[in-house]
Amino acid sequence: MNDKQASKLVVDQVSHRYGEVAVLENLTLEVKVNEVVMLVGPSGCGKTTLLDLLSGHMAPVSGKITRQGTARTVYQQDGLFPWLTVWENVGIGLRSVPDPKQRDDEIAELLELVNLTSFKNHYPHQLSGGMRQRAELARVLAGDSDILLMDEPFSALDYQARLTMRRELARVLQKRPRTVVFVTHDIEEAAQLADRVLILSKRPATICQELPITIPRPRGLADDEVVEAMRMILRALGLNNTDGVTV
C-alpha cells in the first residue's frame, strides 16, 4: 500500500455527458503520487462529475481513466449512512482493524480531531450541516486509503473550523502522505493546501489553467508567497481586481 506507484491517477482524453448535457470535454490530467491537487471552477462545471469518474463510481462516455490504489471520497452532500451513529460511521473505514481496542482508540481520536466527541452516539439526521461534514471528514481519514477525493469538504464550516480542519488535514497528510484531489471554492484553502491548482473552465469543463504551488510548508496565511498565490488564483479565475466589486 505504501508502494510509490500505488496511488497513480491518470485521466486520458476523457469526455462525459449526461444525456444532452456535455460536462467534461477531452480532459487530460495526471495526478502524481502523494500530490495534492486542488480543483477550482465555476458551479456546475463538472467538478463533482470528475471526482465520480476518478473514484470509478461512473464510467466516462469516452476516454480512459487509470487509478491505482484505493480511493475514498468526502461527498458534497450527505454521504453518511443515516442508519449508523457518528461513531459507527467513522468506524466503517476501520472494519479491517482486528483489535477492537485499537479501533476504538482511533475512532475516538478522529472524533476528537473533528470536535464531535460528545455527539458520537448521534445519528446523522440529528446533526447540523457542518457537523455532518466534519463526521464525514473523520470517516475518510480513518484507516488507510491511498487516494482522497474531497468535494468541497469544508463548505459548511465556519471560518475557525475551516482553519482547524485545514491544519489537521495537512498534519494527517504529513504523517501519512496520500494523493489528494480536492474541490474547493475557497481561494485561501487552495493556496494553503495545494501542490497544484487546476482552474476549470465553464461547462463543458476543460483545464484552462494549471498553477503549480511550490511554496514550502508550513504555509502561513499572511506569508507573502501565499498571498501572491491567492492573487494568482483569483487572476486565473478572471477576478483580477475584486477590490472594485461593490454590493
Binding site: 465520480d52 473514484s55 470509478g56 463510481h57 484505493t70 480511493a71 475514498r72 471520497t73 461527498y75 452532500q77 450527505d78 454521504g79 449512512f81 443515516p82 442508519w83 449508523l84 466503517i92 473505514g93 472494519r95 445519528y123 446523522p124 439526521h125 486509503s145
Partner: protein
C-alpha cells in the same frame, strides 16, 4: 412533521387522547352494529346481533376451542410468514442489486404473485398432504412474492450515494447486502412486512380449508358450514383484533434507533 420539537408532555397527552378517540371510534362501530341489528333491517340469521356474537364468544372460549384455534393459527401464520420473510427479504435485496438476475427472474416471480391460495390448494394437498403443512405452504406462497418484490423495488429507490460510499469502503457481497442495502431499505421493508403480514392473516381462512381441524380460519369455515354466522363474526373479530395487536408490534419496529432516520428527516 416537526415531532421532535413538540415538548414531551404534549406528546403524552395526545397519545392518551389518541387511544381514547380510537376506543370511541370502535365503540361507535359497535353501537352502529347494535343499532342496525336492533332495527331488524336484516334478518337475524343473516346479520347476527352483538349479543349473540358475545354469547358465541363465551361459548367458544369456555369450550377451550377458541384459545386452541388462536394458537394453531398463530403458529401457522408465524411459520409461513417467517419463512416468507426470511427468504423473501434476502432474495429481494439480492435481486435489487443484480440487474441481470432481476431481468431474468422478476417475470417469473411476478407470475406466481398473482395466483390465489385457493388455486394452489390441489397442489398443496398433493405435495404437503393435509393439516399444518399445506396451510403453511399456502401462507408462504401468498406472502413470499409480495415481500420479495417490495424489497426489490425498495432497493431501486436507495440513493446511489450509499452504494458509492459502500464501494469506497470495500463493502461487497453479503456484507454489502446486510450492512448497506438492508439498513437502507429497512424503513420500507418494515412497511412491506406490515402489508404482507396482513395478507398472511387474510389468507388463513383459505389456508385452513385443507383438512385443518383447528385454527381461526377453520373456525370461520366451520361456522359458515354450520350456519353459525354469530360464531363466524366472533372469529372475524378475533382475527381482526389479533392482527391489529400484532401489527402494533410491527409498528414498534419503526421506533428502532437505526430506523428513525426514515421517519425523522
Amino acid at each position: 412533521m416537526t415531532r421532535q420539537s413538540s415538548p414531551p408532555s404534549t406528546q403524552k397527552v395526545s397519545s392518551r387522547l389518541g387511544r381514547f378517540s380510537s376506543i370511541l371510534v370502535l365503540l361507535g362501530l359497535i353501537l352502529l352494529w347494535y343499532g342496525i341489528s336492533a332495527l331488524n333491517l336484516f334478518p337475524a340469521y343473516a346479520f347476527p346481533s352483538p349479543a349473540s356474537v358475545l354469547v358465541s364468544f363465551q361459548e367458544e372460549l369456555t369450550a377451550g376451542r377458541l384459545l386452541n384455534d388462536i394458537v394453531a393459527s398463530l403458529w401457522r401464520v408465524a411459520i409461513g410468514f417467517v419463512l416468507a420473510v426470511g427468504l423473501g427479504v434476502p432474495i429481494g435485496l439480492w435481486l435489487g442489486q443484480h440487474l441481470q438476475a432481476r431481468q431474468a427472474l422478476v417475470p417469473m416471480l411476478n407470475f406466481f404473485r398473482f395466483l390465489s391460495p385457493l388455486a394452489w390448494i390441489p397442489f398443496a394437498i398433493l405435495w404437503f398432504h393435509i393439516g399444518d403443512k399445506p396451510a403453511i405452504f399456502l401462507i408462504f406462497m401468498a406472502t413470499f412474492f409480495p415481500m420479495t418484490l417490495a424489497t426489490m423495488v425498495a432497493v431501486a429507490s436507495i440513493p446511489s450515494i450509499y452504494f458509492r460510499v459502500a464501494k469506497d469502503y470495500n463493502y461487497s457481497g453479503i456484507e454489502l447486502l446486510t450492512q448497506v442495502t438492508f439498513p437502507a431499505v429497512l424503513p420500507q421493508v418494515i412497511t412491506a412486512l406490515r402489508m404482507s403480514y396482513g395478507i398472511a392473516w387474510v389468507v388463513i381462512v383459505a389456508a385452513e380449508m385443507v383438512g385443518c381441524q383447528d385454527g381461526l380460519g377453520y373456525g370461520i369455515w366451520e361456522a359458515r358450514n354450520g350456519l353459525r354466522l354469530d360464531s363466524a363474526v366472533c372469529y372475524m373479530i378475533v382475527i381482526g383484533s389479533l392482527g391489529m395487536g400484532i401489527d402494533r408490534l410491527f409498528a414498534e419496529l419503526t421506533k428502532l434507533p437505526a430506523v428513525r432516520w426514515g421517519y425523522e428527516r
